[in-house]
Amino acid sequence: MNKSDPVLSLTNIHKAFGGVVAIENFSLDLKAGEIVALVGDNGAGKSTLVKIISGVHKPTTGEIRLDGEAVSFSDASSARSRGIEVVYQDLALADQQPVYMNMFLGRELTKPPFGLLDKKRMRRDCQQLVDELDVRIPSATSTIRDLSGGQRQGIAIARATHWASKLVLLDEPTAALGVAETAKVEKLVASLKEKNLAILIISHSLDQVFRLSDRICVLRRGQQIGVRETAQTDKNEIVSMITGVSGSA
């Protein structure tokens, strides 16, 4: 496969719920090792788009290609089995369970002959993963509830990158975090590029979008307003694209 071929390719995606159009004619290519930011006001259709890519919703019309192959996901599990992982805004962590069980939630490792859980290996793999990504937690056996917001976010992102082979979707990864923790999570997200994953990030913080992304895609009321190279645009242009009000200074 050519390296510049898109990992994920969306063509003319259209989604309507009953008579209400949520997404109109959305097209976007995502390449490996690239971070694309999806921005837009509340209700612009960002979450709907994430749900379409992750298999929760099916597009009404349009085509999704993964590594050039047309795909149709019946549910989130089928998207996951194709290497697409989502970090949800609420993180989807089981708070009273240890970190390593969350890391392997729904995909627990077992060992022969009785198919019992291989907790030792899960702990070890989990510890290795959080060390590698520099997510600082007391231990892989810590309970999620005892961790800080940034640590939890780190765990959720580490989990997604561990299982994703192609694409990670991040929904507002730093919305609930303080300044220092935000910086840490941003560093983590940036480091995922080296793993050759494609990353689509939703964020309300334009500062963050400009710090992290390679390209910016703007949605307004379900319509794709445009895609810009981050290096070749500025905040004013993006803001006017988001709001539809031009002529800012």
Partner: protein
């Protein structure tokens, strides 16, 4: 050494409450009832024998509570399954009786489970209703009559028998607790039960079939109550609609005192065993102290209240 230290550190107070409480009440009775035969091996064995059905039911309930559901109907299931087994054994071999008893439990569990998992009715209300429904069915099955169980093999295996001089009810308890503990702690099913009770949405987006887990735990509860019914029928050599009637509070108390969270995501099978033994010990000790039935009920209620308050207060830290 280091692993022991790490383990001790991880052993939080909440986990130890049941052990400390168990030890405290045991010591209290051992000292105050020293002359009344509390400490005789015969009396201690009796406690284990008497609590066997409650322990079996408690195991099922740990799974249900851990998954964020509750079962209130298990007391009625005990009566229905004991009567089903007894009636079946009047005209068929023992195996049919055992299947009838366990099958009745599994079936009632499945009814609860389908209503809860697929129609998303609250398990509290569903099982409150089926508790009444099957209590009525148990009464009408034999017109309130008691059915004798005369099959010696059955009463041996499920009641008064023993293997290498270990009473069969002790064997049932040990085997059920061991298997229950392993399934709860060391299988994917156990992990999925905990995840479902902890955060059902997280479990679902992680690919866990949440409805199947909910159905599974309620069927398990029903089946365990069915087994408890067989143990009652075996020990008493008869089945009656009153079996299991008074177990609801005892079993729930045993499970909560044993460290299982009422709202899911956390629990312990070993804790439930100790909780159940604790309830049995209280029963036994209060009788030996010569308290009459009404005083026993008051003291037991107060002790359960204290124990539950301590375990829940600690859990909310």
């Amino acid at each position: 050494m280091t692993t022991i230290a790490a383990r001790l550190q991880r052993l939080d107070l909440q986990r130890s409450v049941i052990y400390l409480g168990f030890l405290a009440i045991f010591l209290f009775f051992a000292i105050t009832l020293h002359g009344d035969g509390f400490l005789t091996s015969r009396n201690l064995t009796n406690i284990v024998l008497q609590t066997a059905p409650a322990t079996i039911m408690a195991i099922g309930l740990v799974f249900a509570l851990s998954a964020g559901e509750i079962d209130l109907s298990f007391g009625s299931v005990v009566a229905v399954s004991a009567l089903s087994a007894a009636v079946a054994m009047q005209s068929y071999p023992m195996a049919v009786g055992v299947l009838a008893g366990l099958g009745a439990g599994a079936l009632i569990g499945a009814i609860n489970g389908v209503l809860v998992a697929y129609l998303r009715l609250p398990s509290f209300l569903v099982t409150l209703a089926t508790m009444g429904l099957f209590a009525g069915i148990a009464r009408s099955m034999t017109d309130l009559r008691s059915i004798p169980v005369l099959n010696d093999t059955f009463t041996g295996i499920f009641g008064s028998g023993s293997l290498f001089s270990v009473p069969s009810l002790v064997i049932w308890t040990v085997v059920a607790v061991a298997i229950g503990h392993i399934v709860y702690r060391n299988t994917r099913f156990g992990a999925h039960v905990l995840a479902t009770g902890d955060n059902a949405r997280a479990a679902q987006v992680s690919g866990i079939k949440v409805p199947r887990i909910r159905l599974g735990v309620l069927m398990l509860c029903g089946t365990m109550a069915g087994l408890a019914g067989l143990l009652y029928a075996g020990r008493l050599q008869a089945a009656k609609y009153t079996l299991g009637e008074s177990d609801l509070m005892t079993v729930i108390a045993a499970v909560i005192v044993g460290g299982t969270a009422l709202n899911g995501g956390k629990g312990s099978i070993i804790g439930a065993l100790l909780g159940s033994l604790l309830m049995g010990m209280l029963n036994n000790g209060l009788i030996l102290m010569g308290l009459d039935v009404s005083d026993q009920m008051i003291v037991r209620g107060l002790i359960i209240l204290i124990a539950v308050a301590v375990s829940l207060r600690d859990a909310s830290r």
